[in-house]
Symmetry: C2
Subunit: 365 residues, 2 copies
DNA sequence: GGCGGGTGCGCAATCGATTGCGCACCCAGG
DNA sequence: CCTGGGTGCGCAATCGATTGCGCACCCGCC
């Protein structure tokens, strides 16, 4: 089992052993032998010696010359929460399959890092960059694919959710449960989804004839990840004393914070107030009650981003390039939403019973 | 906002602009100016121009010359859950500070990947590897730091939790709440913590004079991440009909699964059954009820691993190297544990009241 | 005027692989 | 004998940075 790891042999040494030039050996190793008319016998000789000596080309030397590294960079806001990491695991699926590796860097919304990381990655000759929920402020000399970044920049392909459909699914669901007084928690200003999502909600509300009461609309302020900002805004919502029967949160983590605040105020979810999340991260199904949420196919967004980026790198995407690739949401009904009790106690009671606790839900994607 | 599209500038170009030689510029950039008697004014000129043009040395070229890559590899079982990702974010903190980048690869417990990834990383000349909850089967020619991997291999430094203390904290907590019939859910066989943790539990139980009933000990089987395996084993535990008043789960996600199973069976947590988790991942504090758990300083374990690895790489750790670096657990009491009702209804009632819902807990580390 | 000692910086090789040209050799045909 | 066309492979530049030497210039002093 214990192979002795020896000092890697270089091309020069290998060539010397074989009494051939480096060029020849290099060509054979790289499978360009026939294109250069190298004798079959020589090829075998070289290949054999290479295998015997465990020759592996030095990645840096090769990278320096070819300007190829088979490496890409992934830039995320934050590494420890459900959104980015699910996307990353989708990215990984695709990349490693093709022999690419990736660097990860999280900028935590710090502008200097948002600027610096792409640069540092370029210094490492990444062949492309995937930005997750982060807007790139500069044009980069490599292909860029952006996930939920709505920058509309030349050459940058966006992977984005169909927000209109998402908003429609969400509001139609709440409406079907009888909700009319719906509170909204918008995302932080820095999140690239915030604006589009809100526009879509406004439009969907109009289509479904749901009225949006401005006093029931709040926006996350604290840049902190985790449920606290959502909890905080929900408290604020409760303090204003405007009645509502449902909350549509910007994401699942916010929804979880909202539920904490509601509980704190003695309100039951979903009996008194329904809470609808967004994203469908792992924690959504693990929560109690399991969150009804709008599922974003995060993992496959990562996969699509990665395979699109590879295509761009290989120049396989004809111009004009598409500006965006749309993916579609799904409504996942779990237990944090129910019929509103405000207009019909009976309906509310029914809602309680409508889905007996089976312990199973469609968490797995 | 729109700066120049950043095509990295090279040393040669920068030197040309400044009408200096590459050597001089290189020396200044690398802080070897004084050692080479470069005029203070020239230094300022160079530094300024470098900053202005966002010069960053090409890592490949530098690496080629210095035989350094400033890159390490991180191997994790799985990327999308709380344990690894928290560790990774700790790793990132330390590494990027020192100009290192890292590759991530997740093996999902597949042996071929567990073998293959280290190899591929070596081919990319990583200077070291951090293995998170994964055992490396071979000796590697670079420094390795392992987090919760109990392999005891020469040259591999382990970052490990003080399991004895953890077990003691956990059992003492349960005992203090009156629990005597404690069920245990052990980790999957592949998790490197499983054995040590269990040994520590057995020892702590002995010390605290708690009896472990073998019929109340189950082990996670399914390799699947997420709460399902925990839920499954808890159902099994319930079916055997041996009474118990508390469950000590292998980790928080398992605890969450356990709580689902208990609810499903009509049992309340913590009123009927207390559940104690392990790890203190983000989801633990977000759950309802918030999990009482044994906190592992995951983030700082990542930081320690990274800084230790960097020291190893720099050869700053004198021989004989330590075999392990121990970090310490903390008991975080939230709301999933309470006095057992089995022996004293009064005590149980008291427990209910003992911690009023404040909505605040010590989740943040 | 020549020499010694600072000062301040440059030349060119080097890391290991890739790659655009080009060259030597052989054989057959004219 | 010379030429033309294969065949089989090598020369040397190149990628971008680092680094061991070394050199030019200036000043003051004997």
């Amino acid at each position: 089992m214990a192979k002795v790891p020896i000092k890697p042999i270089t091309l020069k040494e290998l060539a010397a052993m074989l009494e051939l030039s480096q060029s020849t050996v290099s060509r054979i190793i790289n499978g360009e032998a026939t294109a250069h008319r190298i004798a079959e016998e020589t090829q075998q000789r070289v290949l054999h010696a290479a295998a015997l000596n465990g020759y592996v080309a030095n990645t840096m030397a090769r990278g320096l010359r070819q300007k190829r590294t088979y490496t890409i960079g992934v830039i995320v806001p934050e590494i420890s929460e459900g959104y980015s990491t699910t996307v990353i695991s989708g990215i990984e699926d695709e990349l490693l399959k093709d022999g690419y590796f990736y660097f990860v860097a999280s900028h935590r919304h710090r502008d200097d890092l948002l600027e610096g990381y792409p640069r540092m990655m370029l210094a490492r000759s990444v062949e492309g960059i995937i930005a997750v929920d982060s807007s790139m402020s500069e044009d980069l000399p490599v292909p860029v694919v952006s996930i939920s970044g709505h920058d509309r920049r030349d050459g940058v392909i966006n992977i984005e959710l169909d927000h209109d459909q998402a908003a429609h699914l969400a509001l139609a669901h709440l409406k079907s449960l009888g909700h009319k007084l719906i509170a909204f928690i918008k995302g932080q200003a820095f999140s690239s989804d915030t604006v589009l999502r809100w526009q879509a909600i406004v439009q969907a509300a109009r289509d479904l004839q749901i009225e949006i009461d401005d006093r029931l609309v709040v926006q996350l302020q604290s840049p902190e990840p985790g449920p606290d900002p959502g909890q905080e805004m929900t408290r604020q919502l409760l303090q204003t004393n405007h009645p509502f029967t449902a909350i549509f949160a910007f994401n699942d983590v916010t929804a979880i914070g909202a539920i904490s605040a509601l509980r704190e105020a003695g309100l039951r979810v979903p009996k008194d107030i329904s809470v609808l999340g967004f994203d469908d991260i792992k924690a959504a199904s693990m929560h109690h009650p399991p969150l009804t949420t709008i599922h974003q196919p995060l993992r496959s967004m990562g996969q699509v981003a990665a395979s699109t980026l590879l295509s761009l790198i290989r120049n396989e995407i004809p111009h004009p390039q598409p500006e965006a690739i749309t993916v579609y949401p799904k409504l996942v009904v779990r237990k944090s939403t129910g019929h509103t009790a405000l207009h019909s106690e009976a309906a509310a009671q029914g809602a309680e019973e409508q889905s007996p606790a089976t312990g199973k839900d469609e968490a797995a994607s």
